[in-house]
Symmetry: C2
Subunit: 344 residues, 2 copies
Amino acid sequence: MNIALDVMGGDHAPHEIVAGAVLAAREYGITVSLVGKPDAIQQELAKHNTAGLSLPVVPASEVIEMNDKPTQAVRNKKDSSMAVACRLVKSGEAQAFVTAGNTGGALTAGILHIGRMKGIQRPALITPFPTQHGFCTILDVGANADVKPENLQQFAVMGTIYARRIMNIANPSVRILSNGEEQGKGNQLVIEAAQLLEHTPGINFQGNIEGRDVIAGLADVVITDGFTGNVLLKTAEGMVKLFRTVLTEELKASPFTALGGLLSKPAFGSMARRLDDSEFGGAILMGLSSVLVVGHGKSNANATRHAIRVAKQSIELKMIEEVQQGIQEVNEAAAHNPLVAQEP
Amino acid sequence: MNIALDVMGGDHAPHEIVAGAVLAAREYGITVSLVGKPDAIQQELAKHNTAGLSLPVVPASEVIEMNDKPTQAVRNKKDSSMAVACRLVKSGEAQAFVTAGNTGGALTAGILHIGRMKGIQRPALITPFPTQHGFCTILDVGANADVKPENLQQFAVMGTIYARRIMNIANPSVRILSNGEEQGKGNQLVIEAAQLLEHTPGINFQGNIEGRDVIAGLADVVITDGFTGNVLLKTAEGMVKLFRTVLTEELKASPFTALGGLLSKPAFGSMARRLDDSEFGGAILMGLSSVLVVGHGKSNANATRHAIRVAKQSIELKMIEEVQQGIQEVNEAAAHNPLVAQEP
């Protein structure tokens, strides 16, 4: 197995990314192709013991920066590490592309250079999300700001297969994010999508869900457009920061609470880890003809290793093939039953 | 001053609602009209010392329940406490309507029985929201699931006046909730609304804001549609619960952390209060021709008192008149400059 890693992407590139590649190559015994500026990569590799590891360097002279405009950057920087890595996947040399770089850039490069899966209208960004009971799966968390009901239907199929394969849930419940749990609640998009989801084969649709109940863990898979999904994710992230700040301030208020804070420090650390996303392994851009994993911009070596793990698992579990089949079944059902699909 | 209170609305109606009315009448020296079933109200009033307080009972034989469908319920239950209270406002007997009942019912009753302000297309639900630096003002948090760019423009004007009057911020910054802070990021609605807001007189527009930065306190007023605003609010609420659960679990993990938890308990209580919404005083449905305050469904006596306080303040500060004038200025500017308003 060969995974193409964008060594130049992410806030801590290239050092943490190369370190993560070394960890992954050692732990999983796979090839990790290091795509980026050869000098920078060699300099980082020299810091590690790489004896016996398969870490070929694939040169790419350009970098899509965090503040680049995705479409423009992908088009103009033809020798960017993202473009080179995607072409490695397209040619069959590598089986997956992993990056912690500019998310928009990764999506654009993936769609342009790897290409959509047959029958998929819009690829979606899918990620595990911490809840009271463990994790749920949310998509789309940022690939598509505007979607149609039939896109959300495809997201439900992709989310179901992800939850089954990566999260090990036999019959994952699917709900659509809305402003009320009652049937018929929602904006026009959600109301139409919910009607469509009721008649979609192969998914266990259970209606609407509110933001609160997403976090309470009342759904295995949560479907939403990339705009709202992004707001949910970023709000949750902001709340974690707010708790830390407020708690730190309140704990300083008296010697007793300060001592209490000191004694309960391991609990806070443990909580922070539960809410931390570096173990998630990054988001998958689902709906391409190969696996694409986008790690968090602030990925360290450990997060990079987990992103590579998710890519490896996705390949081993034949997720692309399974999504392909799921989408085909929905499309075939739609051809026979007008309720399954609306007019595109 | 006379405030019409829906005594039958809310999870703890009528006892906590009547108790809150007693507190408010005593503290603020105003009349609170208790609208609802007379027997139930008298029974609750008997539990309090109401000597010298102005708490007239206004009979209403029906109740709009929490799980009633708003439009249907408001239309069918002509003698509901909400309808009677709204008519009291419409007739001029009372100057504001306060309820902790079914939000959709309150909006529908308000629009139907009190009526929209002149020039307002869509009233919006506006609420303070806790941030790292205190509070910001968010609207719409649930009145309109689908909106147009020009509705968001009016929300910006209403939010600015609320922030100035209720939150005491001289020149409140206004941002629009999006999936990226960069200009041009957003769904179609946000992109169009942002262009409109750039050219809106009387507001201090500063571009896009992400969910994370709303909580970080980087805007005084946050503009969004009622669907996304509701997702943001409910997600934040869910995170508070998650935080409490995880922290409690982690603190139980060892005797040291448990002792630490015990000692730091006052800090947790203090934090909970900072994140608690009962002091917010409820959301205002802004854009009606009179003041309408919707408290949280779980309002207790204190929350009810604060909701009444917000109504009283809004009347004293002539917020309706000021919003009326702000909207008129935007509409006049739009008549002279096509950039200020899109075609409705």
